[in-house]
Symmetry: C2
Subunit: 328 residues, 2 copies
């Protein structure tokens, strides 16, 4: 049995052992090789730090591995990646880390790669005070260039799903006090934990976008993901695209069992880690898409103006005074 793996075997041997989770011939060299065919590539780096992004006792390593991959794939997708080439993993582990933890982490990583495509290209492992999983993902740019700076006044703001669930899942898993006056629906609890532990990305997104495009000349659309919360996503779009967002509170999709109240609105808008896409389309395209895909919702529109967010219902603007998203 290998407990306290880095203390016992050292980094070098650990990297050799991790070889079993990786495709042959990528492990035993200084670099990994990627073949390209006149493609444009997308590259993204994202780290999960213990006690900042996760608490080791509250998420199992397999879920953590899954999540580390999905957060990167979500960024690729929100730039229009049509295929994930692969990932490199930089792993920092305390010397006392148990081998079973590392194995489970890689199981989760490989499960997510199996689900969404891509392979482990290589990586690095070092000793450190706290666990850190830093992933760099490479994808192939598809026909549609999704960019934060491509929103236009007049565009409709849309999103691929319901927000706040991951935050609720986090609070349940971490035994954080919820609103005492509210009794949570069982189905909502299960779904929220699922969203927190095994977030998903939206696989048909690009396909349906292409299907519903009315004008083949339209190749650039505004998009980001809601990894830092729905508000942060909309704010990032307004800042990069230099326009103003008007959000329609009434249209925002909530889980049917999601409780009412300011606290719950805060979880919804500032929760983060939902990995839904937040994007903008010309009106016609938006209509076509929401007709085809019932999981995509209109939530507002962009207008000319200083980068900012307002609610159509002015009473809701007090929501914007809340503190911005901080990782759990």
């Amino acid at each position: 049995m290998h407990k306290e793996i880095l203390e016992e075997i050292g980094e070098k041997e650990l990297i050799n052992r991790l070889g079993k989770f990786m495709p042959k011939n990528q492990v035993s060299d200084d670099c990994a090789l990627i073949k390209t065919k006149n493609d444009n590539l997308l590259v993204n780096t994202d780290s999960l730090v213990e006690n900042v992004h996760f608490i080791d006792t509250n998420i199992c390593p397999q879920d953590l591995g899954w999540k580390a991959v999905v957060s990167n794939i979500s960024d690729l997708l929100s730039s229009g990646s049509k295929k994930t080439i692969g990932i490199t993993i930089s792993l920092i582990l305390p010397a006392r880390t148990e081998w079973i933890w590392i194995e489970e982490l890689y199981k989760g990583i490989n499960k997510a790669l199996k689900e969404y495509g891509g392979m482990i290209l290589g990586g690095d492992c070092s000793k450190g005070d706290e666990k850190i999983i830093s992933i760099t993902a490479l994808g192939i740019q598809g026909e549609l260039e999704l960019r934060r700076n491509a929103c236009k006044p007049g565009d409709i703001i849309l999103t691929t799903g319901i927000h706040g669930l991951s935050k609720l899942g986090f609070m349940i898993q971490n035994n954080i006090n919820l609103d005492n006056n509210v009794s949570l629906n069982r189905e909502l609890i299960t779904k929220s934990i699922q969203h927190f532990c095994r977030p998903k990305v939206y696989p048909n997104f690009l396909k349906n976008l292409l299907k519903t495009r009315s004008n083949k000349k339209l190749r650039k659309i505004g998009c980001t993901d809601s990894s830092d919360g729905l508000f942060q996503a909309v704010q990032d779009l307004t800042l990069a695209s230099n326009c103003k967002a008007i959000m329609n509170y009434e249209k925002i999709p909530k889980d049917k069992y999601w409780p009412q109240g300011d606290k719950w609105d805060e979880y919804y808008f500032f929760g983060g880690e939902d990995y839904e896409l937040v994007f903008s389309l010309p009106k016609k395209w938006a209509n076509n898409l929401t007709k085809l895909d019932k999981n995509i919702y209109e939530i507002g529109y962009f207008v000319n103006g200083e980068p900012s967010i307002e609610f159509k219902d002015k009473n809701k603007n007090q929501l914007l005074q809340n503190t911005p998203f901080k990782h759990f």
Copy 2:
């Protein structure tokens, strides 16, 4: 004045500020875009962890930034990268980190990129207990494929320079007790500190390899870098190529002021972080290259046999009993 930067402004604002060190349009999006033209790409990830790879008080942030880039470029070069495309940076910083430290780090990063090519493609910044700089570098595979597994029995083992200097520089910078019976030459001290703080890679390496190739069909040669020490490099080559290395102690290039003795041999062979290339060539090619390039040295040869290292002078084999390289 911005002290304790993460405490004061948070991660999001820090990433915005880091924008000034990066090319425009790469910062404000989820991914960076890389254009390729039927190239094969090389990708490599390497991390520097505080108190494992560096001690904050003993290396200035500008040197650290330089070193973080060079260690990655060295890996690219040792796989035959003809051009560095760029790097992504995952930065973990304690909340109390001062802004000046971060600025200096990025100055060092950009100096190294200016020297060796490549740009900052993107990155990520998080709070953590200790400083960690994790870099993923992307390069373009050149005509010669340099691989750990391409050494052949009969090949000559060569290296691009002198080893041990970085280790000595580290010991001087960290006030570690050196051999009391030895008084170090001033020139050696300066050179060693330079090697430790600002390691270089060997820019003409690929050009001279191509110039001296006798047979255009030869496209794959055995190579790695000595980032983990000369012994570890040779061992990695023997393991990946499944052959035995015979090293010639007499031929190993030492600094003219390098002291004699077992301790100094240990620093030389196990020191690490010299970023010299260790590679193998057929005899004729090796002869052509060492005639053209006086900074390249023959240090042994490969023979058939179990992966292992032996000295030609059997008396020197006791050196191999020493503990393998561990990062400073």
